[in-house]
Symmetry: D2
Subunit: 143 residues, 4 copies
């Protein structure tokens, strides 16, 4: 999304709390709170994940950085990623989950579940890498 | 997730950039970059959305705030919400999308697409509300 | 979908093999085989599940039989259910899975995993029902 | 799934009506009808789509026929495809949709929406193919 609307700074300082508040205000101003039950918002999120998948569906394998994508397609991708994020933030809010805190905690749990291997030689690295690979393939780690 | 692991402050200041960097470091330290192609991470995200849905699947309608849920179940919910978030942040990163910036832009687009109705009486409010409701039902707005 | 396009018999005799063959022919006639890699079709399926979810997303709880739905909406629902089915049949085919056979086998596995409880009184029924409920809630049974 | 449980014939004759009835009986025998509201079953389906995606998530591009997969993994794939199918059949049933009929109708609609191109030379074929490709990429066709 770099440069997709000129002159604005990057979104590096955007907090989950900023987005939570903006979403809550947006919904309240339109009197849409009555629609935002947890399962309604969850299904809306599933729908947006479908739209995100649609962007990738006929492309075969896609390299990192999307070097061959048109700018327009990248902007569209940013919109679908955002839709998923905004509903995720909203779902967390109406469920009483502090998403930022939960994400930091989950990162800690993951770090403990998958400790960094110490390797001292190339051969060890390969062996350990195989183990890591298998762990990776057989589990549902989120990173 | 309030109070689910004592003594820690809330996650209000957590930025998307914080999470992006933590995920990138986590993956790099484990030499998992080779697994993190866009479509691999997208499918991992879909899997986590499935786990999020599983939490809600047999419950029927669930009120906001989840008043009847056990603390353990709320912690689990926070973990699944986090897994979706972390993969979403990771997918954005490897696609070269500034997710915070994209989300702010999408919120602006939504605000323009669904302008707040000005109402001055209860009757007007009801009429406008019906229009809003129909717009809501017939569109894929993300909020 | 009953009565949505008059005069035609019900689809009771439709086999999975009928649909597999029709999809394979459809794709071949249009020279689309090159697009139908397993992960492309999987992502297309995820997209259709999103569209199916969209139909239910703002509705709150919906009773069986959809008594309050307009005919047009039911027809739309039938189309989205069909899109998911057709991609599922297609994915199975290109992966070399005999879906009908696999489904019968899975039904047998489920029947063994969740044996029917024999109950002889109302009290027993309630007790067993609670156990069943808990099993139901804590597992990922597909039925 | 060919040969994954010896001696049984292929599932070619399995109809959607067979599966619908088996699922309805299975649920009734266990007194689980009370859990099978449309949105409960829909979320269960989303969860199974997540499990299906998990099988493909770290694999990169996968060729048709899955030549390098272990037999055990193919059996697992058949189970997840079946779980999605069984919930899809169940969801259709409780919504009053004749899924076989709806699928045949959708195939007809697709055939009309994407007519087979008649081509008489290699050059024409390439040109038409490009058009077909673009149509394919820009639409949500289910095949």
């Amino acid at each position: 999304m770099n440069g997709d609307h000129g002159g604005q700074e990057a979104g590096h300082g955007v907090t989950l709390e900023d987005l939570r508040k903006k979403m809550a205000d947006f919904v309240k101003e339109r009197d849409w709170d009555k629609f935002h039950s947890p399962r309604n918002v969850l299904l809306a999120l599933v729908k947006e994940v479908g739209e995100l998948s649609e962007i990738f569906q006929w492309k075969g394998e896609v390299p990192k950085g999307l070097p061959d994508w048109e700018e327009e397609e990248k902007v569209h991708l940013g919109e679908e990623l955002s839709d998923v994020l905004l509903y995720l933030v909203r779902l967390s809010d109406i469920c009483g989950v502090d998403l930022g805190k939960a994400a930091l905690r989950k990162l800690e749990l993951n770090a403990r579940k998958y400790p960094v291997q110490q390797v001292s030689s190339k051969d060890d690295a390969i062996l350990l890498d195989e183990k890591t690979t298998n762990a990776h393939l057989s589990t549902d780690l989120p990173s």
